[in-house]
Symmetry: C2
Subunit: 369 residues, 2 copies
């Protein structure tokens, strides 16, 4: 993995990540396709949105349809017909958040399948074997992600284990096109974040992720921790803030030196009729859109906005039509791609602070967001 | 409406229907978009499938979002961003089949909304006002559609009422681009079908529909009735067999002189994982497709078949991903478009009997169909 920083403004960076199978500009938002599809989207749509990297979940794919099956069918790119880049999360976070955790030791984690209740054991080595087979371009080290209300002792232990596991992941041979990314843990404790980051940096990876945030802590704590953590990471490596977030969170994190993002919100919220626009977030179920002839977002050039009215979108949602989920998902992903594009351009042009303020404005007033 | 018959083979016809806003070749299959969307499809997809006409349901649109709303937003074409042609069914069939019928008199029909239980009255005049407002290119007369087990007296009455209502529909002024199509009723009684057809033909319409079939009667009775009924209709007018059917039914009806078709099966079955192929019908949930690297249909050039394996489709279905519904729907509609295309070409080339036999073969053996 090569990372070139093309421009900086304050701590914000505009750059370009180059991998053996493709490249992408940063800051970047990666649409989430947990189960080998970005819900309701075709690869053709993802290209039209301008997506260069998507995220999938190794744990989900391990449970269904199985990493060996995917491998035997040519790997995940071929399986889902996506010729862009893929990042797989190890799924450690899901093991903890799904409350299917059965046993956690230094050896690894035993958990119950959310699909059929079957019992499974994943070690760092096993996670690498799974992700190697799936064949994503960027793969995440197995980490321990404590809940937001974990006590300090728990977080200390998670940091130690996460570092140790990163080392074990690192000793597994991956495919030539694959890059391993370790995850900084440490809750909202700056000292622990420092420890976690420094111990990983010592191992000399080419990119670093910040995990364990957006798990229920206050937004200010999330941003402060992000800001502190990027400060502990090498300037020349891409930084990936996992699972964040709302448009404003992304802009705030870019300002604090983050380069890569993923989040289920734009896709999940689309399926509930919520759309992101330059006027703020709108819920299209609202009766005030009943006869609104205007597009979802008057400033948007996406397929949905070029063709359909808010009134039509509301009709589809009220009628329970899955076309609504599809059209709203397309729009929201287009919107997320647009704000990272705008941010990137603004950093290059030295106007990030001004542009950020304009973009953030409709998302800063509590009411609309 | 202009109808030119370009070729005949036996009773089968290949023709072209021209309307003020567009034209289409026959035999034609019209995808069903009951609630102003063909479930999971975009207008862009429908163009890619080669669809020229889609069907929508005036009764559903009357109940939600309301025909006046659609009218105020520029009509159904604009509302759903479909620049092809639209046929609206009056929805009389739905009133009867949904068992929400409350009262039926010569004046019209009173029924309960399936959405909120509210009570509504539709007369032939009201149905025309609704369909005029919605603005479809072809609109259906309000008819009475008795169930398959109705006794003769009931069918006699339905035929009389359907004719009378067709006359009342005919006296309502439509928009310039709209064509009214009356519906022949009569159950599986050839004498009543004759009466119904002749009384409508006397009123001199430009196209005729055959309704009240595929409501539970035996397939042989459906085909015999269709064959008899097309014989009572003028040669120079398009004939539309409503709600039929499976691929083999369509080929059988083309052979008996039918030109236009609609059916929810290809879209509804796609959402359940059933796909139509040149090898017959397959259910992609079947475990035998678990690791099948081949496309849904090896003989198909659609987006789904060009990009995805049966194994991937099965994975999406098992994982409950709506992308599965979308990709399978695209394929099934492509398949239906293809069989009517092939039939049309074969009629022009005088090879319909041979081609039909080939197409029908995998759908004739009970097992796979």
């Amino acid at each position: 993995m090569k990372f070139e920083i093309e421009a900086r403004q304050g701590r914000a960076r505009a750059g370009r990540v180059t991998l053996p199978r493709g490249s992408f500009d940063t800051p970047v938002f990666m649409p989430v396709g947990t189960q080998a599809t970005v819900k309701s989207m075709s690869p053709h749509d993802l290209h039209n949105i301008g997506a260069k990297v998507i995220l999938s979940n190794a744990l989900h794919l391990f449970l269904r349809p199985g990493h060996e099956l995917i491998d035997s069918l040519g790997g995940l790119h071929t399986f889902m017909a996506w010729d862009g880049l893929i990042l797989t999360d190890s799924g450690g976070y899901q093991v903890f958040s799904l409350k299917n955790l059965m046993k956690l030791t230094d050896a690894g984690v035993t958990f119950k399948s959310h699909i059929d209740g079957s019992e499974h054991f994943i070690s760092p080595e096993k996670s690498m074997a799974i992700q190697r087979a799936i064949g994503a371009d960027m793969i995440m080290a197995l980490d321990e992600c404590p809940p937001a209300d974990a006590d300090r002792a728990h977080i200390v232990k998670a940091v130690r284990r996460t570092t140790e596991w990163a080392g074990r992941c690192r000793s597994v041979k991956l495919k030539d096109h694959q890059t391993l990314i370790p995850i900084v843990q440490g809750g909202t404790d700056v000292e622990l974040r420092k420890q976690s980051a420094e111990s990983l940096v010592e191992m000399d990876f080419t990119a670093y992720a910040i995990g364990g945030l957006s798990v229920g802590e206050e937004k200010a704590a999330m941003l402060d921790t992000t800001e502190a953590t990027t400060g502990f990471l090498p300037e020349h490596c891409p930084r990936y803030l996992m699972g964040v977030g709302m448009p404003l969170d992304i802009l705030d994190a870019i300002e604090r030196g983050v380069d890569m993002f993923d989040c289920v919100l734009p896709t999940r919220m689309a399926r509930n009729g919520a759309v992101f626009t330059t006027e703020g977030r709108l819920n299209l179920r609202n009766a005030r859109f009943k006869d609104d002839p205007g597009p979802v977002d008057p400033d948007c050039e996406c397929y949905t906005c070029r063709n359909f009215s808010r009134a039509y979108m509301r009709h589809l949602i009220m009628a329970g039509e899955i076309t609504a989920a599809r059209l709203a998902t397309f729009h929201n992903l287009f919107f997320y791609a647009k704000i990272t594009d705008i941010a990137r351009r603004a950093i290059r042009e030295g106007t990030f602070n001004k542009v950020k303020k304009e973009l953030a404005e409709p998302y800063s007033s509590g009411g609309k967001q």
